[in-house]
Subunit: 470 residues, 2 copies
């Protein structure tokens, strides 16, 4: 190559590079501006939280949420909006739970408690028994049947506060809640109470799913969560006096499965209509609060991704779907159903993005994908820098999109700031006032930007070296 | 160089690099862990906010805050703790302000209002006048004296919501509040009301400092802020009917300057005791809330930096000072005084870090320094990555440390997530409950980490190429 040709070649690379980044930068700017000045996510969340409220699978509120979000998607002028039927479990809480600690002399101290999702009720008059405190399942083994039989097992391993990612701290604790009962039953426990999965000391009990595995119905024992303050109190009281008793009463119940729906909307792709990219969150929530962060935020952000694409005059090449999954909290039936149907129809899902970590300031994404796709993402980092989006790591995506995994597709999860998430998660203070409008809208814009880029450049291409930021 | 020597050389670089990062990484881990498991900042803030409250310069609460923080620093076993006298302005709000919009038919609509800091009172019976709405000072010129004289000028330029950094949006608006009166007086205005510096629509009026420049006392007109909701309301009502009147009454007053203090604590350096590095926030606050974010957070984080250094068994080479500045809000007397005294004594301040942007999740720092020092900072980026600290930019530092600037030193400002800051800034909802313990503690740890690194490696060294991450 002579010097002139080399110069022309270099100039053309520089020029094309410039055009590439300029135009994408402009489009991202438009997306963020539209979300912050003309976003719909906050209004939608207001309705979902304040007009409907908690949306436990199989409840009337869940049905209302299906109808409301379908109606709102209908208004957006998408190419297709529909409901995907799915049978979901129906668990009901019954009356408000009641609990106290009783000293030997009969003094009662009221405790903030809630049944765990899926738990059986106590006897009609409640359950009163001595308490044995443990930190983990190994403690059960050490104590043995002699020390546990007939008692209430109190799981009190706190979330690890020095982990920066609070989801990691959650992951290190949640087996107490999920499998606590089925493990304690082996040693003849009469019931289970668990310290709430909350990094903060406060008075809110946090519910969440639990399993009895294949335990026969007659052997199931009631399980409940107590607030972190009450867990501290109970632990201290036990240290002073092992003979104290714990009483709780709950009337929760598992009913028969009922029909519900995933809500789906689609913009059909202009070039590759048979390649599907989805964004989603879950429409169901626990019943204690109004499910604003978990996962009202993910629902309205996902809905707004399609609206923001349209408002920003982006014509996607691939088919973009918003999927509002039913029953993430206690069954994952919606996520499984969606993947099952996609497989049945041979739909090629090249990309799926989930938002289910709260409506807080977005920091980036974690990706479940191959190296080529991940390098492609890294090449886009500079585009996200003006929006302070900096977290691009390999890792999990989300529970609902997980079943869509193939060897070549890209699954991703929005990663908002996680510091406050477990203050609210599954508790009665997961409410609309805890969501900041701007933080929510920045999340919707960040999701839209990633969808735009993957739609434009495709998934798993031969990665151009010039696109990769080392 | 033969191959063997090259190999030895490369190995030694790799080895030294490894030791360097390993050991710093370990120390940062210890700092963050200590702050999250055994931090004091949240307890201190609880006292400052809930036992003392708003700390306007010259008030009894400001005096209490001086005494409290001095006592707490005394307990830390520092090498020296002292008070630095400084005369500060004393402005008092008087009774709670009152305002309404009055239609031609006499219908009154109450408005949420507060006097701006430094404003004069209205006449004892209040001020009632027609209103002229403007967006900026150019509008005043366009309208001219004819349209303004005798009226209340209503500044209603909203903060720009599509700016990601909310401080930038604040910067684009705050001249309405600060210079609104002195500009409006030129056209014969009778008073000034300004839309609160708040990105959110809500009912809280936000105060803040304003100036009359060198306007004679007799010419000064009363200035106040109304909530964003009421600004929207007033603007709409004016569009419908220009003849509506606005009434407000306030009894605020500027008194004589009074004696107050900066509170200072010091760990004396082991190797370079005459090189000073300071961390600080401002002890005074506005009076409407309890000043938790502005700037109780910065105060307690700065105090905890010295405690965290000690707890982490770090022996600083340089003298590390915490400086709790008095009167940032309406005079900056503390910051000026500190710099003045430092200059007088010939103290070499090589580094100063300010935290005055709220107790939210820290994202990084902005730096006012030369390229060599900035490159040095960039070389530390990987150390901060585990803590999701990613923002390292040149830019401003902080109002209180600003007067310490020299050609060679490093000034820095902690940059927390800014999305929620202006929901609370200078308003009655700047309260303790709006601060999250973990976010506050992460900020204190992040500040400590930067102080540790600058103390260890010094400021403005000959930068070693291997330290710089390109």
């Amino acid at each position: 190559m002579n010097k002139f040709r080399l110069l022309v070649c270099l100039l053309s690379i520089i020029f094309s590079l410039d055009v590439y980044t300029q135009s994408d930068a402009e489009i991202l700017k438009k997306i963020y501006k539209t979300s912050l000045t003309n976003g719909k996510s906050y209004d939608w969340l207001n309705h979902l939280s304040n007009q409907i409220g908690g949306r436990l699978s199989g409840s009337l509120n869940a049905e209302k949420a299906v109808n409301y979000t379908k109606e709102e998607l209908d208004k957006l002028g998408l190419d297709k909006v529909w409901l995907q039927p799915v049978m979901v479990p129906k668990w009901i809480r019954g009356f408000k739970e009641h609990a106290f600690i009783e000293s030997e002399k009969g003094k009662k101290t009221t405790v903030n408690i809630c049944a765990l999702g899926g738990s059986v009720a106590t006897a009609a008059l409640g359950l009163k028994a001595n308490v044995v405190e443990v930190k983990n399942f190994e403690d059960l083994e050490t104590l043995g049947k002699n020390n546990i039989e007939g008692k209430i097992v109190f799981y009190n391993r706190p979330m690890q506060v020095d982990l920066i990612n609070t989801f990691e701290a959650y992951g290190g604790c949640v087996n107490q809640r999920y499998k606590g009962a089925v493990e304690a039953v082996k040693y003849g426990a009469a019931g289970v109470i668990v310290r709430s999965m909350n990094l903060r000391l406060d008075d809110f009990p946090h519910t969440g799913s639990m399993t009895y595995g294949d335990l026969p119905v007659k052997d199931r024992i009631p399980s409940a969560a107590i607030s972190t303050n009450d867990a501290e109190l109970l632990s201290t009281m036990l240290k002073l006096d092992k003979s104290i008793k714990f009483y709780f009463k709950q009337s929760c119940k598992q009913l028969k499965d009922v029909l519900s729906y995933n809500v789906i909307g689609q913009i059909t792709g202009s070039e590759f209509p048979n390649e599907y990219m989805i964004v989603g969150g879950h429409l169901d929530s626990w019943d204690l609060g109004d499910g604003s962060h978990d996962d009202g935020a993910g629902v309205v952000q996902s809905m707004d991704v399609l609206r923001l694409l349209k408002e920003s005059e982006i014509t996607p090449k691939r088919s973009i779907r918003v999927v509002l999954f039913m029953n993430e909290e206690n069954g994952l039936r919606g996520g499984k159903k969606y993947a099952e149907e996609a497989k049945k129809k041979g739909e090629n899902h090249v990309f799926a993005l989930e938002s289910d970590a709260g409506g807080f300031t977005p920091r980036g994404f974690s990706f479940d994908c191959n190296d080529a796709s991940f390098n492609q993402v890294l090449s886009w980092q500079p585009l996200f820098k003006p929006y302070l989006i900096h977290y691009f790591e390999k890792g999990g995506s989300g529970a609902d999109v997980g079943p869509l995994k193939t060897e070549t597709n890209v699954l991703a999860g929005l990663r908002p700031d996680s510091q406050r998430y477990f203050d609210h998660h599954h508790a009665s203070n997961d409410t609309f006032d805890a969501v900041n409008k701007r933080e929510l809208e920045l999340g919707a814009a960040t999701m839209t930007a990633l969808v735009y880029l993957f739609d434009k450049y495709g998934v798993n291409p031969i990665v151009n070296e010039t696109q990769i930021k080392k």
